[in-house]
């Protein structure tokens, strides 16, 4: 049995980083979208500020989470051809990552510009991102065996 407190296992286990890091963009993005919906698009509200902070950190953390996922595929799974649950997970996660970054970019662009209201079309993008990230997370749970 692998020692869970062994530092080499924690830091160098080929897939463990992805499983740990992925929680950050998931939680931050969903929280950011929730806060953004509550702010009703008013850029100057405190809720909008909190939403922007959460979306920014979500966008920042989605990159190392995605990178560690790719590394896990290469080193833990020997870069095997993607199929089945793993393929679905990668597709959903890729879409989710793009939508997380797109959501952040919309907020960032608006904050640099004059309008006080965030564009309405950001809502379907954010909601689609929530669906995609939820699906990717659900499939990731099956791949990691936590659902058994």
């Amino acid at each position: 049995m692998v020692n869970p407190f062994d530092l080499r296992t924690i830091l160098l286990a080929k897939h463990a980083q992805h499983v740990v890091l992925i929680h950050f963009p998931i939680a931050l993005f969903i929280t950011g979208v929730g806060l953004d919906l509550l702010s009703r698009g008013k850029r100057t509200s405190q809720l909008a500020g909190a939403a922007y902070l959460n979306l920014s950190i979500a966008a920042a953390t989605v990159i190392p989470a995605a990178l560690t996922g790719l590394l896990a595929w290469q080193f833990a799974l020997d870069g095997k051809r993607l199929k089945g649950l793993l393929l679905l997970h990668v597709i959903a996660a890729s879409i989710a990552a793009l939508l997380v970054i797109a959501s952040w970019w919309l907020h960032w662009r608006t904050r640099r510009a004059e309008p006080l209201l965030l564009p309405d079309f950001r809502i379907p993008i954010e909601l689609l991102g929530v669906v995609a990230i939820g699906l990717a997370a659900h499939l990731g749970g099956f791949l990691s065996g936590v659902n058994t």
Binding site: V2, A76, L77, K83, L85, S144, T148
Partner: protein
């Protein structure tokens, strides 16, 4: 005449049927399958079945992944390690020395098993 033909035809058909049963029924192969099956470990539902397998020395143990997700079989002491096994992929290792060999799935470390070589 017709009766004779019918009778002869029935005998021929019965003989062919009996021959088919004898030839196709794998009586000997079955015992070999049983012997082989005892050296197999099925990986299913994130568990090894059986989790402890006892085999004689110089036996080849085969792990078969029946799960929908990939697994990697790795011994605790670094003696053997498989590639990532997809569904229905197999990995075999021959144990030449007596002893107890603990192993786990390197992707899902909670999955553990043991091979006891006598």
């Amino acid at each position: 005449m017709r009766r004779k033909l019918f009778f002869a035809g029935s005998i021929v058909a019965l003989s062919l049927a009996l021959a088919a049963v004898v030839i196709l029924h794998p009586t000997r192969a079955k015992s070999e399958d049983t012997q082989t099956a005892s050296m197999e470990v099925h990986v299913d539902n994130f568990t090894f079945g059986p989790d402890t397998l006892t085999v004689p020395a110089n036996s080849t143990v085969t792990w078969i992944n029946k799960d929908d997700v990939p697994h990697v079989i790795a011994s605790n002491d670094g003696l053997f390690k498989s590639k990532a096994l997809d569904t229905d992929d197999k990995y075999s290792y021959t144990f030449t020395k007596a002893g107890t060999y603990a192993y786990y799935c390197s992707i899902h470390p909670k999955m553990v098993g043991k091979i006891v070589v006598q």
